[in-house]
């Protein structure tokens, strides 16, 4: 078998972005999957984006990834969430046709230069002196490589639960990677167990939509990719909203003892939010009704995904409670909901470039790092893929930062705090929310991606042209005067005010509204937040300084008695790369940071 620069294990959202990014960056890359047919599969809800998640999707796109283009090509229902609020929290979300989505991703992989695919099961990661040297396949074949990206999702020792039934699986109908999981245990990485769930899938013809609330998509339709257009979009459909009621809740409450999520069978940790309908009716018992989005799985699919009622109840209980819901009285369940528990690796074992701290050349991305969601997985995947490739070329690796991206926020959160529940992105996690917007994801990341090699020339040219137009338009707006209440103000000043938009300028004269609408909107958003973003600059400079203060890997925290025991223990576990990360480790106070500064200096002095 040939050697590869980079081998990516797993063909989910993390694995596809990782392998494509690695190949784009110029590394000879192999994608290993149990079955190519499942590559690009949306195993849970058929949607991409949402608040925080849309931001991540655009960041993947800005770095040259495929997720946004796939979502455009497969999107059958588009909305901009939070549109009534400010542009920083506008978020694109789409329903996707599963087949179109998968088809697009698979096509990209087939067409990608430098990228091979092999259908096989990996049973071993081979290491030499804490460095990756290859993988072993089920049939005993060994493929050599110095860089591995592991994106095993829920496949490591996955166990599916439906009522009291339980069986080993990676996803429903796919086998778990138990051999690899056993082997991973030998590597002595800190692991934990998490759980997640999925709702039953309903037959569209068995639903009575006539009394249900319609939810049409937005017009004009938002577009995910910076290089996309709404001509990429297929036919659009409507979604519907159904609601649970008292009867539904009573049935669920009556069958809780048969829910493995509740009767103690599942031990993995779930989140503080409410992923299952069992959670919802117990934790918020007063709430009379919960909404369910009925989302079509595709244009030609007979399946409806009822978003909001994921469950692990026995099949007959699922049927019973669902049929109490208006519109679903005669519903036919095609696939039952289930809960799945799986292994994840404590992400505190990773550097900010997603390389394992213990084993060089071993990168991890996606759900195995304790996250949940396609977008969270994809954005880690692209970072891991880029870095695996950079490492194979002996180039300096790249870490996204809290200042330039949501993916930077997520990775920093994961590596400094670990995952105590499946980690999901929220905009409130970001310190620089007004800057980390969907509209400027390309400005934030495309130049970086271009330098790293993951952005192709065509995209970079489009990007440059757009930025050039925006810059020139902003200059023009700063000079243009408009009359308002007998007072002359510049168009820029006008746009700085709340509740003004570029379109409003057209009311003054059509001359003011020269640029294409999206360029104009970009200008007005940038102008609006300019003042707020300047304010944050000082903090960013300070953070940069702390980032430059590197904490030596050999620092023995247990010996620094001036630190509290909690700080010592957490620092020893996390082994932060620099002071900035250290400051986010639980128990590390400002005084502890001062002490660490002194210790870094002492370490340097001793080394001399």
């Amino acid at each position: 078998m040939n050697n590869y620069d980079v081998i990516v294990i797993g063909g989910g959202h993390a694995g596809t972005e990782a392998s494509l990014a690695s190949a784009r960056c110029g590394s000879k890359t192999l994608l290993l999957t149990q079955s190519f047919n499942t590559v690009g599969q949306m195993s849970c809800n058929p949607s991409i984006g949402g608040i925080g998640k849309g931001h991540l999707t655009k960041e993947v796109d800005a770095l040259g990834g495929v997720m946004a283009r796939a979502a455009d090509t497969a999107g059958i229902h588009f909305r901009t969430l939070n549109k009534k609020k400010g542009p920083a929290v506008w978020a694109t979300r789409s329903q996707a046709d599963r087949d179109l989505y998968k088809f697009f991703i698979q096509k990209q992989i087939k067409e990608q230069k430098n990228l091979d695919v092999l259908e096989n099961e990996v049973v071993d990661i081979i290491t030499e002196k804490y460095s990756v040297s290859g993988v072993e396949l089920n049939d005993g074949t060994i493929i050599k490589t110095k860089n591995i990206v592991l994106t095993a999702g829920t496949f490591l020792s996955g166990i599916i639960h439906i009522g009291d039934q339980k069986f080993s699986a990676g996803r429903i109908g796919e086998k778990a990677s138990n051999k690899l999981a056993d082997r991973m245990r030998d590597l002595d990485l800190k692991m934990g167990r998490l759980k997640t769930g999925t709702p039953p899938r309903l037959n569209v013809d068995s639903i009575n939509f006539s009394n249900l609330e319609e939810q049409p998509g937005d017009e004009p339709r938002p577009i995910f990719s910076f290089v996309g257009s709404n001509l990429d979009h297929p036919k659009q459909i409507k979604c519907y909203i159904a609601r649970t009621n008292r009867m539904t809740h009573d049935i669920i409450k009556g069958s809780l003892n048969r829910s493995p999520l509740f009767n103690g069978v599942i031990t993995g940790k779930g989140p503080r939010y409410c992923p299952s309908i069992e959670d919802k009716v117990t934790r918020f018992a007063d709430k009379e009704s919960h909404q369910i989005f009925l989302e079509p799985e595709g244009l030609n699919s007979k399946l409806i995904y009822p978003n909001g009622i994921s469950t692990s109840l026995p099949k007959e209980d699922q049927e019973n409670f669902i049929r109490t819901i208006e519109g679903l009285e005669n519903v036919v369940i095609e696939n039952y909901g289930y809960a799945i528990e799986y292994d994840f690796f404590d992400p505190r074992g990773l550097n900010s470039n997603l390389e394992n701290k213990k084993i060089s050349g071993f990168f991890m991305a996606g759900q195995i790092n304790g996250t949940t969601g396609y977008e969270e997985a994809a954005s880690q995947g692209i970072v891991a893929g880029i870095n695996a490739s950079l490492r194979s070329q002996a180039k300096e690796m790249w870490s996204p930062s809290r200042e330039n991206s949501y993916v930077g926020v997520m990775i920093d959160d994961l590596i400094t705090q670990g995952a105590t529940e499946p980690y999901r992105m929220f905009t409130s996690r970001a310190e620089h929310r007004l800057y980390l917007r969907e509209d400027n994801a390309d400005k934030r990341l495309t130049p970086i991606g271009w330098k790293l090699g993951s952005v192709e020339e065509k995209r970079y040219n489009i990007y440059n042209k757009k930025q050039d137009q925006i810059d020139r338009e902003i200059e023009r707006l700063a000079d243009f005067k408009i009359m308002e209440n007998n007072r002359k103000i510049t168009a820029k000043e006008f746009l700085k005010r709340p509740k003004t938009s570029y379109k409003d300028l057209c009311n003054y004269s059509s001359d003011y509204c020269l640029a294409e609408s999206d360029i104009g909107e970009n200008c007005s958003i940038r102008i609006k937040y300019e003042g707020y973003i300047k304010k944050q600059k000082l903090e960013i400079i300070k953070n940069k300084k702390d980032e430059e203060m590197v904490l030596p890997n050999k620092m023995n925290y247990s010996e620094i008695t001036a630190l509290s025991i909690e700080a010592r223990e957490n620092l020893a576990m996390v082994k932060p790369q620099n002071l900035r990360q250290a400051a986010r480790v639980p128990g590390v106070t400002p005084a502890a940071i001062s002490i660490l500064k002194v210790q870094i200096k002492a370490f340097q002095n001793n080394a001399k």
Binding site: I51, R283, S594
Partner: protein
């Protein structure tokens, strides 16, 4: 400014001695010299010079400028020796903090910088760390003692309210798709107004009391005709600055401000304590006991010719319960004709014996008072802390002032509330990024 890199702090312990030294370090030290001395100082020369705000002289000081790298920290440094007493140094530090890029030094920061700039040898890393820890503890103590229980309760209350408002706003931003029932924008706006008013009132309160904050309180108690008024007049004869007669009846507490060897104190005279059926007199006595509880030191005066009597002992017992800093002083020792030693035998309470009339043992008593005051005052100055609190409260206020609560700018509201809460956290050290998300998850049913 949180990110400022020039620092200022008081280098000498407060209250003690006639002089205080203020230390500044960092690249903006030159700005202090230009702004307040309005001339340039030659490095390593002592200047006797006026510290001026615009054209008004705040104090005449001795200033020494140390140019980088020839200084303790290795940075540009300035040492200002000003007149002792918190009033002066608080005023000067406050002025320096108005300059951009200046903030109060963190505990042990001068030494930390000295170490980082290779001004102290590597053997001392451990001792620097120990110093940082010790100073941090001290500062925490000072911060706590600089906030009265009531005031910190108020700040915690505001912090709670801000948190609730943030939970509502952030839930609307991050979970607008979930069918959650928030309190609504109107309610959030009301909360914001309430928070603003509360911060504003707190600022007013602190500003009003600031100069007197570090003034220690001494209260003089005792039965009528034991010499309480004479003692006060004697102690304050040269330096009475303010006479404050609190509103009420003639039997209220009267206080005077003066300083004992550089330590500013308020001395409070009380009506004589005696058992009475007169309601007004009884009220005065109760008031005196309330004041005694708040004081740093209680001096209990009695007439040695009459000795401590049954009601004295009752009073002393009562006082000991409310305040442990109690000094019992026997007056009129000049009237004792027999041998003192035999007279003093079998006394249950340890006392100091003085004669105000003949100026006997007064110095000894003052020394004792000063020692008790020193025990009462922490090394790190609460007065400096007070400046810090005020600055952060003002920032917390400005962050949410002029914010219009509207759906169209809700993300700006969220950022403003966050900034405001971060500033409060600088006072009460209550920063926890996860509080908002935890609050959202426990208040609202958020699905997958």
């Amino acid at each position: 400014m949180k990110d400022a890199n020039s620092i200022v702090s008081l280098a000498t312990p407060i209250g003690i001695g006639a002089l205080s030294i203020i230390r500044c370090s960092g690249e903006s030290v030159k700005n202090v010299i230009e702004t307040f001395f309005q001339k340039s100082l030659k490095p390593r020369y002592a200047y006797y010079i006026n510290f001026k705000k615009n054209n008004e002289t705040l104090d005449d000081v001795v200033a020494i400028y140390y140019k980088s790298p020839e200084s303790y920290t290795g940075e540009d440094m300035l040492e200002i020796t000003c007149h002792g007493g918190p009033v002066i140094y608080q005023m000067l530090i406050k002025e320096i903090l108005t300059l951009p890029n200046f903030r109060l030094a963190k505990p042990g920061e001068f030494s930390e910088r000295a170490y980082l700039n290779n001004k102290i040898s590597l053997l001392e890393a451990e001792s620097i760390c120990a110093l940082i820890n010790a100073k941090t503890k001290e500062a925490a103590l000072a911060a706590r003692s600089s906030l009265s229980g009531k005031m910190s309760q108020e700040i915690f209350g505001i912090d709670e309210k801000l948190l609730n408002a943030r939970i509502q706003v952030e839930a609307l931003l991050d979970f607008s798709e979930e069918d959650i029932e928030t309190e609504g924008l109107f309610e959030i706006e009301n909360q914001l107004i309430d928070i603003k008013n509360k911060i504003k009132n707190l600022i007013k309160k602190i500003e009003k009391n600031q100069l007197f904050f570090e003034v220690s309180k001494i209260i003089i108690m005792g039965k009528p005709n034991t010499g309480k008024s004479s003692l006060i007049n004697f102690l304050t004869q040269e330096s009475v600055s303010i006479v404050n007669k609190e509103a009420g009846t003639t039997r209220d507490v009267v206080s005077k401000i003066f300083n004992i060897k550089g330590i500013p104190v308020i001395i409070q005279d009380t009506a004589g304590i005696r058992k009475t059926d007169n309601q007004i007199e009884q009220e005065g006595t109760n008031k005196a006991f309330d004041k005694a509880a708040e004081s740093n030191i209680i001096i209990y005066l009695y007439d040695v010719t009459k000795g401590l009597q049954k009601d004295d002992f009752l009073n002393i017992e009562k006082l000991k319960k409310i305040n442990t800093s109690l000094l019992i002083v026997g007056n009129k020792i000049d009237l004792i004709t027999e041998k003192l030693d035999s007279f003093l035998k079998d006394k249950k309470e340890k006392s100091i014996y003085i004669s105000i009339k003949k100026n006997t043992n007064i110095e000894k008593m003052i020394e004792k008072i000063i020692n008790m005051l020193k025990e009462n005052i922490n090394d790190s100055s609460p007065g400096v802390m007070q400046i810090k609190h005020l600055a952060f409260l003002k920032r917390a206020y400005n962050d949410i002032n002029n914010i219009e609560v509207d759906l169209s700018n809700l993300e700006i509201v969220a950022e403003s509330l966050k900034a405001s809460q971060q500033n409060l956290s600088e006072i009460i050290e209550n920063e926890d990024n996860d509080r908002v998300l935890s609050g959202i998850f426990s208040n609202f049913c958020i699905g997958k």
